[in-house]
């Protein structure tokens, strides 16, 4: 019987797109366009896995989705008191809550998305050993589902903007590009760490610690302007550095946009993503044998 639903985009037939569309073989490396096509075929799975992550995350929690607000708000309050009032760190003349919150929203997204993505294969080992689907879907779903919390945080940020009567500039148009960079960065690191975690379970212990260190070298608590100018370029090698600072700049046009720092961080983000993807592709085939 001919399958009435058969079409070129059905799952499992997409590795050899050109010569023989309905044949797949594993003795050849899939062409990059084959990968992209396969991701397109499985896009609904990405949706369902992200949806599962979101549902499961807040099910049986008393406070539910409000956790997405509590985490950045409490962190902001602590930062304001501790680093603002007590340590009296400068904030580029921006109201302190706004200064911390605008950086915390992207930072917490990166930190949570990378931590959760690094566990995505190990906690779904039964899927990997029982069924085929593009493995990349697992870390990708985590990184996608984290965007919900990010958007909730961003909405709250709008509240801050209104409260502090911030006048927004044209630079706000840059926001989608920054979100994209943030997403790509989290996905790149997530792919790398999740694949590494299959062989080395040390990742589970190392990631929370590395996240803490990463926070200190990222201008969340302090402004970049506090760093001596000759070290600022170095700081931007940290892909989150220029990014977080740029997110802050969107709201505070009085602070000049450091294009060179954003450029460097975009470049390092691209490098991180490509390396993460390459490592992932290289180890992917052995996942089911090792996990």
């Amino acid at each position: 019987m001919v399958n009435p639903h058969a079409s070129p985009e059905i799952p499992g037939v997409s590795l050899l797109p050109r010569a023989a569309p309905s044949v797949r073989r594993w003795d050849e490396h899939a062409e990059p366009e084959g990968v992209v096509r396969e991701l397109w075929v499985y896009r609904e799975l990405l949706f369902f896995l992200s949806w599962r992550d979101i549902k499961v995350r807040y099910r049986q929690t008393f406070l539910g989705v409000s956790w997405a607000l509590i985490q950045p708000l409490l962190t902001m309050a602590i930062f304001t008191v501790l680093f603002g009032r007590v340590a009296n760190l400068p904030t580029d003349g921006v109201p302190r809550p706004l200064f911390y919150f605008s950086a915390l929203v992207p930072w917490l997204y990166i930190s949570n998305a990378v931590s959760n993505a690094s566990m995505s294969f190990v906690s779904n080992a039964n899927l990997i050993t029982k069924i085929y689907f593009p493995r990349i879907m697992l870390p990708a779903a985590v990184v996608v589902s984290g965007l919900l919390d990010f958007l909730i945080g961003s909405l709250l940020l709008v509240g801050f903007i209104i409260y502090y009567r911030v006048s927004l500039g044209w630079s706000l148009l840059l926001w989608p590009a920054l979100v994209l960079q943030m997403f790509v960065l989290a996905l790149g690191l997530g792919m790398f760490l999740s694949a590494l975690n299959i062989r080395f379970r040390d990742v589970k212990y190392a990631v929370p610690f590395l996240m803490q260190l990463w926070l200190f070298v990222t201008p969340v608590i302090y402004p970049t302007s506090m760093i001596p100018a000759r070290f600022q370029g170095l700081l931007a090698v940290n892909p989150a550095g220029g990014l977080v600072e740029a997110f802050r700049h969107l709201l505070i046009p009085s602070v000049p946009m450091r294009w060179n720092l954003l450029g460097i961080s975009a470049l390092t983000t691209a490098v991180v993503f490509l390396l993460g993807f390459a490592f992932f592709r290289k180890t992917e085939r052995a996942f089911a044998d090792i996990i």
Partner: protein, 432 residues
């Protein structure tokens, strides 16, 4: 390659390296191993096991093929490669059309999600489109027979309900090629019947089906063709009837001797293992070895000359290469005066095989006790332990460790309410 073939397999081989995969591997262990290797310490040899060896066959469109073979013959590995879960070491595979593989029922079920949500999730993991799931949703629910609980989180489902729900989704896949592992081994008779009739429906629908089973009656009824895999090689390819007949008669004649993996074998060769039989407790053939079974290992050997004081030993390893236990005639205080010249056999009786279901490796060796020379070493046999009711709920799997102990839970509460609660407390087969 004719276009009428939906599966083409050419010189397919798959090897596993025992010991390479350290479960939950830590950098420290690997570092120590690396240092040990580089400073010329005792080098740990990688144990290679060939699960599949040079397999070639093709399946025309619309054929229903039963794959049979003994425990550890490579059937499951073949299905995993066909399902793209694992990749071959050598050779090539071509599969035409949409593939659905059922190595487990209810893959990806999540405890916290409702039956309805799990249908969508499981369906999309199995490769169904959302529109497709929506269209067939009512059919799936009806088939599963759990419609009144469809909006209840499945953590409250009994294992039977999960199984029915999982199979209901699978039965509504619309694949060109269906790959089915022994999913029928679990579940009650009524459920098995339902599964078989669903597969019957696929057959009449002209789909290509690959079906692995130890249930010869099911294979004979459903399949037109049989493939007998033995020691990772294709031993016989023919009609289901004749392959089953040859397979069963091999039990009677050469009495189920496992093909030995001779690569990596060590020793002087004065004694050679010629075959290992995995027998049930009563000494009859064991088609399936289940958790909790008694097991009799019969080691056939041939000695080139008279060998005095031989010592036989057996090591049992997980598929990760972790040593579970080692035993030998010497450790047990059994002294053998001499063997050979010529052939003979030795039995090792295991009262209860208390391993959780999964894949294991047996390594057999013979040494000369007097001068500690290895005569034949590291002869490998794969051991696949299948689930059984030994654990009450048949829900034991490798996530629960390696061994289990004979045990009994006692509760002052009546047995009946205990049983009712059991379904809620334990994670189900389906989600495992």
């Amino acid at each position: 390659m004719s276009s009428a073939h939906s599966i083409e397999i050419e010189s397919l081989s798959k090897s596993y390296q025992l010991g390479l995969k350290v479960r939950g591997g830590q950098i420290r262990e690997q570092l120590i191993q690396f240092l040990r290797d580089s400073f010329g310490g005792r080098r740990r040899r990688r144990e290679t096991i060939w699960a599949l060896r040079d397999l070639t066959f093709s399946v025309p469109e619309g054929e229903v093929v039963g794959i049979i073979g003994r425990n550890g013959a490579g059937k499951s590995t073949l299905l995993k490669i066909l399902s793209r879960i694992t990749y071959p070491t050598a050779g090539s595979i071509r599969v035409r059309g949409r593939v659905a593989s059922l190595l487990e029922v209810g893959t990806g079920f999540h405890e916290e999600l409702t039956g309805r949500e799990n249908i969508y999730l499981n369906g999309s993991i199995l490769g169904m489109r959302r529109r497709e799931i929506e269209r067939r949703f009512d059919e799936i629910v009806e088939f599963s027979g759990v419609s009144q609980f469809i909006d209840t989180p499945i953590k409250h489902f009994s294992s039977g309900m999960r199984l029915r729900l999982g199979f209901a989704v699978a039965a509504h896949l619309d694949p060109d090629v269906l790959i089915v592992d022994e999913v029928l081994a679990v579940g009650d008779a009524g459920f098995q019947k339902k599964c078989l009739s669903a597969m019957e429906g696929l057959r009449s629908g002209g789909r290509t089906v690959l079906f692995v089973s130890h249930n010869m009656a099911a294979v004979e009824n459903l399949c037109s063709r049989g493939l007998w895999i033995d020691g990772g090689r294709l031993r016989l390819d023919g009609t289901a009837k004749e392959v089953i007949k040859a397979y069963l008669s091999s039990y009677a004649s050469d009495s189920g001797t496992q093909s030995l993996q001779v690569e990596g074998r060590t020793g002087s060769g004065e004694v050679r293992f010629t075959g290992i039989e995995l027998l049930s407790h009563e000494g009859t053939q064991a088609a399936v070895i289940q958790s909790g079974d008694g097991l009799l290992l019969r080691m056939h050997y041939r000695a080139e000359r008279l060998v005095t004081h031989p010592g036989f030993s057996l090591r049992l390893l997980t598929d990760m290469g972790t040593l579970i236990t080692e035993t030998s005639t010497v450790l047990q205080g059994l002294s053998i005066a001499s063997i050979g010249p010529g052939g003979g056999h030795l039995d090792l009786e295991i009262a209860t095989l208390n391993l959780v279901p999964g894949r294991y490796a047996l390594l057999f060796s013979v040494v000369s006790v007097d001068d500690e020379r290895v005569l034949d070493g590291d002869v490998r046999v794969l051991l696949d332990v299948e689930p059984s009711a030994a654990y009450g709920t048949a829900q034991l799997n490798s996530r629960f460790g390696i061994v289990y102990f004979p045990q009994r839970w006692k509760s002052p509460v009546s047995a009946e309410s205990n049983a009712a609660a059991a379904g809620k407390r334990l994670p189900g087969v389906a989600s495992g």
